[in-house]
Every structure is written in C-alpha cells, then in structure tokens.
Symmetry: C2
Subunit: 344 residues, 2 copies
C-alpha cells in the first residue's frame, strides 16, 4: 500500500489484523489513515504474501438442481460477515471434471473446501488433502470422511420412505429414479432394504430408472414406463420431488386416483410438494442448514476453536401428506398444514 500518512506500513497492517498487540493510540492513528486514504486491502497481494486466499471453494454437481441451490444459500449466509467468500463450481456429475476443478482450486490456495457427496475419486481425495485446509463433504454421511462431513444417511432415508408406504398398506411399491447419481443409488438401496425385509421385493418389475436428469417431465415418463412394465403397482417412491410431481401429473392425466389407486412419496420436501393437489408426502432434508453447518465447521477450524465436530448426521424427517394417505386420507387436512420450510 502507499505510504499510509505518517504511519508505518507494517504497524498499520499489524493493527488491522491483531488489534491486541497494538497501542490504542497507534490503532487510532492507523484507522484515521485508513479512512482518510480510503484504503482497502488487495486480496491478490494478501494471497500472494501469505500463500492463502480467503476463498472457500464449493464443488457441487449441478446448479439446475434446487437442492444444491438451497445448499449454496446456506453457505452464502453462513459466510456473511466473515472475511471469506465462496466460489462455486459444478462438476456436471463427472469425476474427471471434479478433479480438474480441484486442480484449479489448488492453485488458489483456498481457506476451505466444501464438496458434495462422498464418492470422490482417489485422485480427488488426494488433491483435497494436499490443499492443507479444512475440507467438508456435504449431503451425506459416510464412514471415511476426507476431513469433516455433514449430511444425512441417504440409504436410511430411502428405507424410511418406503416403510411409510408399507405402513399405509401399499404392497407393490415401485421406485422411480432419474440421473441416479450416487445419492439416488443409495436411496434405491434403502428402498430395497425395506422391500426385502417385507418380503415384497421385485426389482425386475418395480424398479424404473433413467440416467437422464431429474425433472418433472422425466417423472411422468418414468411412471408411464413403470405402469407399462408393472400395471398393478400401487405406489411409487421417487428419488426426487420433481420426479414425484411429474408422476402425480401423469396419474392425473391417466385418471389414476392418488392416493387411493396410487401412493406417491417424494424426496427432499421441496416447496412445491406441500401445495400440489393432492399434496405429496416427502422426506425432508436440511440442505440450507447443511450449508450453514459446513461453513461453521470450516470457520471454527480456521479459528482454532476446540472440539469442532468432525462428522455431523443432520437427520431427515418423513412428512406425511395426502399422496400416501390411503389409510387415513379422509382425516388429513385438504391443504397440508405441514408447510413450514427450513429456510428464511
């Protein structure tokens, strides 16, 4: 920085960061100079001199997916008032691209990293470790975190969703899944757990998936395909809410009554499923909170807070609504009252 009035440049930058080790007098002098000259630090120079940027890298598969938008909001809000700023990139669900992006981040020497999922390649894991900064994996729990992790047990959540359908008396429960990224795969595993335990598994007829991106349109198509393959299916567990809503629309088009002829359960509890007609049962996952927590864990680590939790299971919750209310459908309110979203 240019000569800061009659304050030494060094004293100044010292005063700027560690206010304890400076005389109040000096501090005042510095602050006066700062405002007088309109001084603002140059992040590039800071990064160069300290070999550390104030960037928090956030690596997610997709921006199209509402789920990740919620996560990002949590990250952004959690970073409010901190000197760090998030930088988002998306992998498009490609491991190769993830590695490439991590290599780019490595050159920035980020203050912390947030990555979605637990299926990083060995190379990606190595890159993350080499960054020598706090790393948080998000959206899932898992046995072998790179550093820290926060999310929910996708498999258990899938199982719980299907058990809800079983409890409502549905018997031939199909699975509809698009994209089938690793998390959707684990929800499918949970679906299988539940049906196997009930002795109702029939993968060949009941499981319908597509590598296509998850969308409302895809949901309708998947339901059609399922019905073609298994006309007597009486319920579906959808790996995503958009698939669930698309399936509901397809039922309406075909005159299939939901929940009486067909039960539907979605996943993630997006806003839309609480106000559709009928409302759709879903599994609430706390994406916004997950983003916030990931940031909290990174900040705490950077500030040497003791006992930062290294693995957080943030849980999930089945939100029963009309679309699966075969037993007690008449007693549920017409417009679901369960409508409080997790986020501001």
């Amino acid at each position: 920085m240019a000569a800061k009035a009659n304050v030494s440049v060094i004293t100044a930058s010292r005063a700027l960061r560690q206010s304890e080790k400076v005389t109040p007098k000096t501090r005042a002098r510095v602050e006066a100079a700062v405002t007088a000259l309109g001084y603002v630090p140059n992040p590039a120079a800071q990064a160069l001199a300290s070999a550390r940027s104030r960037i928090i890298g956030v690596v997610i598969p997709s921006l199209t997916n509402q789920i990740f938008a919620d996560l990002l909001r949590g990250v952004m809000d959690g970073l409010e008032g901190s000197p760090y700023s998030p930088q988002f990139v998306n992998t498009r669900y490609l491991a190769s691209r993830e590695e490439e992006l991590l290599r780019i981040f490595a050159t920035q020497r980020p203050a912390g990293m947030i990555v979605a999922g637990i299926d990083q390649s060995e190379a990606a894991r190595a890159l993350l470790r080499a960054m020598n900064c706090p790393v948080v994996q998000v959206m899932e729990t898992g046995p072998d975190p790179i550093d820290m992790i926060v999310g929910c047990d996708q498999r258990a959540a899938g199982q719980a969703a299907v058990e809800h359908l079983l409890a409502q008396g549905y018997q031939r429960i199909g699975f509809l899944g698009a994209r089938m990224d690793p998390r959707a795969q684990r929800r499918l595993a949970g679906y299988r757990d539940a049906l196997a335990r009930a002795g109702l598994a029939d993968d060949a007829r009941l499981v319908m998936t597509t590598p296509q991106p998850s969308s409302f349109t895809t949901g309708g198509r998947l339901l059609s395909d399922l019905l073609a393959q298994c006309p007597d299916a009486d319920a579906v567990f959808c790996a995503n809410d958009d698939v669930a809503l698309g399936a509901l629309f397809e039922c309406q088009r075909r005159g299939i009554s939901v929940p009486h002829q067909m039960g539907i359960v979605g996943f993630n509890d997006l806003d839309v499923v609480s106000c559709s007609v009928p409302t759709i049962t879903s599994v609430r996952t706390l994406r916004y909170r997950t983003g916030q927590m990931a940031v909290e864990m990174i900040r705490a680590t950077l500030e040497d807070v003791p006992d930062v939790p290294r693995a957080v299971d943030i849980g999930f919750e089945i939100i029963p609504r009309q679309s699966s209310a075969r037993q007690d459908g008449q007693t549920l309110p017409q417009h679901s009252t369960t409508n409080s979203k997790e986020t501001p």
Copy 2:
C-alpha cells in the same frame, strides 16, 4: 516461478499466453519444461502483477429463483475453456447490499462484470464504471446501459401475455405478482398497457401483489386474495411461473375449472408448466442464452473483437398451452407438445 529448466522465465510466460510471438522451437522448449516441472500459474501473483484478476463477477438478487440458476448455468458454460472463472454473489434484492458487493469486487479488479437488472443505484453504476472492465447488464433491455446489455423487454412481454388472454376472450383479467422486484413491476406495467388499451382496466379490483418472495405457496394465496376481492375474475396473468402453478393448484382445490372458468398465464416457461395438468401457458424467456451471450460479449470485448454488439434484445415468446385455451381448448393436445427447453 522457479527457474524453468533452461528457459528464461519471461520467454516462458510469454510463450504461455501469446503463442504467435514466439518461435515454435522456443514454444516447444517451454511446454516441455511446463510439463516436466508440473508448473501451474499462481493466480494471485498474476492478479497482483497485472492489476487484473481473471474473475468475472456475477451479481444477482437471489439464488432461490430458478431463473437466476439458469442464467448462471449459461454463464458457467459460456466461460468453459476460457481462463476466466465466474464468481457469484447475491444482493437479496437490496440496493445497499449490491453496492457493498460491488465494492468488494472492485478490490479484486475483475476481468468483467455481469449484473442483473437495470435498476442499479447511481453509486453502483459509478462503482461498475470505475472497475474499468466490460460490464453487462442482463435480464432486461433498457435505454441507458452502463456499458453493454442483453435481455428482453419485460414490459412488452407482460403486455403480450395479457393480449393473449384477451384474444382468448377473457375479460376480467387479474394480475398476480409476488416479490415485485423491478422486473415484475415492468410486467405489471405491460399488463396495464394491454388492459388500458382494451378498456378493461380495473386496478383496484384486479391487481393483487405481495412483497413476499415468489413461490408456489404464495401463488395460491394470491389467487385466494384476488377471488375475495374480485369473485368474477375470469383469468390471471402471473408475474412468475411458480405463482401460476400455485394459482392452478388453488383452482383445483376450489373446483374452479381451468381454462374454462379461469384462464392462467405464467412467466418464464419453467419446465414444470409444460407438464402440469392442465399445462400452463407461459412467456418463454431465454435465461441460459442470456448468460451465454453476456459472457460472449465480455470475452469479445477483452479480446478486442471489433463491432461487439452493445445492446441485445433477446426477445420472448408466448407459448400457448391448455391453461388459457378457452377458445380452442378442445383441439389442443392433452399433453402440450411445446416442450423443448432452451437448454441442454
């Protein structure tokens, strides 16, 4: 960088960027050294030395809104293969926050800036100009761009949407708008234009807005409020598709037949409106393409391409579907065939 084998550091960095002004032989020598040493440039050092980062700042109001997610995808994809990387921030629809964010960006000396809308404060405009880099305003057209601009005429689009309803024979057309950011305001202005021209304006009864964020739930509430205020409304133009879908759900709850008793037109043509039951007429806007174009304009400017267009009207298109097909409803396909999205 450390001594690059036996190549001069300078020649090297020269070869790295301007391949024309270097002998093929030298170039080969450099590339060999680069791979041998695993050299990767340090962006902080580049930024410091050149007083220019490779960051493209992207300032949008919200990440919750699907519209902006589409824009961001266009920006990201447009930046593929370039040395630039996007950095996103959101203003939460607050002018004060926009200025604050721009001040932060200013310290980064970005290579280019993309900002949503045309309603920046004078201070924000000054900050953007002071950045001395290409600036593109997006999502709207306007008479006084800061630098470059790409988007569509929101007011004309609103007017066209309402004229579509008029052409279908609807008479008491309400307006449902949430958030009411400047773009929604201009759509409302277009709505007024159309109704005034038809001699059917009745703002006090027909216009229903809320400052709350746009959402499916809000849409239902707005329709209820409108019907309370004006029970004989026979159509609604919704400032956003989520409001439109929420309104459709509310109609279903009340047993109001769409499009016969109530016509509905949305805005933006989100995926969901093309597969709901009934499908919803909407105004297609090209968010993804807008993001791509903004990036193209910035890159072209940075590369001194001649005759870069400074203002692009990207247009819009009414996509008629079942929800407004009062006249020819019986002839429309049950599942709208107009379903090709703008994006991959």
